[in-house]
Each structure stands twice: as structure tokens, then as C-alpha cells.
Symmetry: C2
Subunit: 163 residues, 2 copies
DNA sequence: CCTGAAATCCCGAACGC
DNA sequence: GCGTTCGGGATTTCAGG
């Protein structure tokens, strides 16, 4: 299994020593994660070395956990996106919920929830037949007592760069 | 408003000419979006120029829509994450649903849904009082007929790099 | 915490296969 | 489609304020 289980609170309180410049760096990297240090230095009005040190420090603090590419999965043939709400018996531990769902390759993210439902699963599949297979696997994986699937028609994400 | 509205189908059918090497490039960039072309070239067994051409082409095809940084928002003091299901009257157009929700700064993503509910909103807030304000704003923004909020206790994301 | 400079490495374009 | 070459630019490190 790739990825990592991380239950909040990762950090009970926020890291104190994050200033405005750090937020500026983060904003620039959210817009484009491959921005060069030189370009950021120019925009911020700082030297290249200073910007690099900010980014290094944000990684060490765990504020920046990584960098990744944004992909249009529909263009790769994975055109269907859905959220499946899962309900479990009260005896099921959270760690098992995450493990069983994460074992399904089509699962992109697992959110454990306070209340009802117990978990919200983000899945990406090729077509509706594929979706049904994935839901069936989720139902059988743990001792699921009920599911409800929300089929995504469209989506908007903040700061998704427009090509 | 930052970001972009994108309703599926972005592409009714998948781009045909994506081969195994392209998938390898995408996998490497998902793991680390700031990988250099040289490092990818070495891993794949191709020249640097060839890898760069692959990435350029994937961007032109719209498969790669951008790059971004992964942030632990809890460390920045935004420790609460939730999904809010919204219900609208049948007369509300989808575009207005997205617009009203996206105007709220705390909204990270909006998913329009086939069936019930009509939309699923991913929000990030500082604390529970903040969450209540955001939900109130969502209720008043459009002509919302009902909401249900799922409070996230923990999350797992595929390919989230562990530091 | 910053700047500036030097060595190293990478990018990007051009050319030929 | 691929590789090679090469000049300009970026990264990284380190001395010094």
C-alpha cells in the first residue's frame, strides 16, 4: 500500500514561527509547484538562497509534505469519480476501515467521519460497471453494514491551474 | 475567484496515444512533482530530452494540468476538515451551485452530484466555531434547502509522500 | 536571518538519425 | 519517435555581514 495513514491531530497546535514570507512562498508553490527558486525570489524580493532555505525549513517542519502533479484522469480513461459513504458496526476500529479501503486500487482517498456515515471514500473508475465492482469490493472487504454512493457530475478545485 | 469550473466530460473518450513510458513519467511525478528530468530519465532509461518532450506533450494534451505543493494545513492552524452535503431546489443551475460555494474562501473543492444531495463541498477551517460560520454562509449563499455536514476525523490519501 | 559568489547540475533548443 | 551537443540558467553550498 502506498501513502500513509494520518489521523488528525497531526499537530495539536499550529507551528508558531510561520511568517508572511512563508505564506507567500506557499501561495506561489500552490499555484505552480515547479516554480524555480529564482522566480519566487524575484516575486518576493528576496535572494535565491533565502527562498530555498524557507522551502527547506517548511519541509523540515512538515508544513510542506511533498510535491505532486495534477492530472486530468478523464483523459487517461478514468472518467468516473464518486464518493461512497460507508457504515460499519460500532466494533470496527478506524485503522481497519482505512486499511480495507486503501487496499482497493481505485480508492483515491479515505476520510473517517464523526457520526454517520463512518467513512467517506473517494474513488475513481473507468466506467459505471467498474464502479459497481469497486463498491462490491468495498462492501465485502470489511464488515460493512451499508453504503451510499454519490456519483460526481462535475468538480471545481481551488487553485487548479487552468492550462 | 481562483481555480476553474470543469464539468465532466472534459474529454468524452480517453486520449489514445498514452503509452507505458508516459504512465511511468506520470507515476514518478505523482510521487514527487519536483523530480528533475535527469532523475526521471535515469530511472526510465531514456535521455533527458526525451523525458522533457514527454512531459511537454502530456501538458499540451491536457493530461497534466499543473503542479502543486502538498501542505499539512493542520500545521498552519487550519486543523478542521469537513464535507458538507448541499440540497437545492430543482430550479437551481449547476453553475450557480459551484459559483456560490467557490466564493467562500474556506471551500477547497465543490463536487456536483447526480441524485441526492446535489453537491458535496470540501471545506477546511480553523476550528468548530469557524466551521459553523462557513456552513451558515453556504446556507445563505444560494437558495439551499438543506445541509448535512460530515466532520473528518482522519484521512488517508494515495501516494501522499511520507517525509 | 540575510546576501553574494562559485561550482555543479539542469534546462531548453537545435540538429541529425 | 530518439539521442547528442552546448550555451544559458538554476541549484546548492559556503564565506561573511
Amino acid at each position: 500500500m502506498s501513502g500513509s495513514i494520518c489521523l488528525r491531530p497531526k499537530e495539536a497546535f499550529s507551528v508558531p514561527e510561520i511568517d508572511e514570507i512563508d505564506h507567500h512562498v506557499l501561495r506561489l508553490l500552490r499555484e505552480d509547484g515547479r516554480r524555480t527558486f529564482s522566480e519566487m525570489a524575484e516575486r518576493i524580493g528576496l535572494s535565491v538562497a533565502a527562498v530555498k532555505r524557507r522551502v527547506d525549513r517548511l519541509r523540515e517542519l512538515g508544513v510542506i509534505t511533498g510535491f505532486s502533479v495534477q492530472i486530468d484522469y478523464a483523459k487517461l480513461g478514468w472518467g468516473i469519480e464518486a464518493f461512497t459513504e460507508l457504515r460499519y458496526p460500532g466494533t470496527t476500529p478506524v485503522s481497519e476501515i482505512i486499511r480495507t479501503a486503501a487496499d482497493v486500487a481505485e480508492v483515491q482517498a479515505v476520510f473517517t467521519i464523526a457520526g454517520d456515515p463512518d467513512a467517506l471514500i473517494h474513488v475513481r473508475v473507468r466506467d459505471l460497471g467498474h464502479l459497481q465492482k469497486v463498491i462490491d469490493r468495498l462492501r465485502r472487504a470489511g464488515d460493512v453494514t451499508g453504503t451510499k454512493t454519490l456519483l460526481v457530475l462535475g468538480s471545481w478545485t481551488r487553485d487548479a491551474p487552468v492550462p
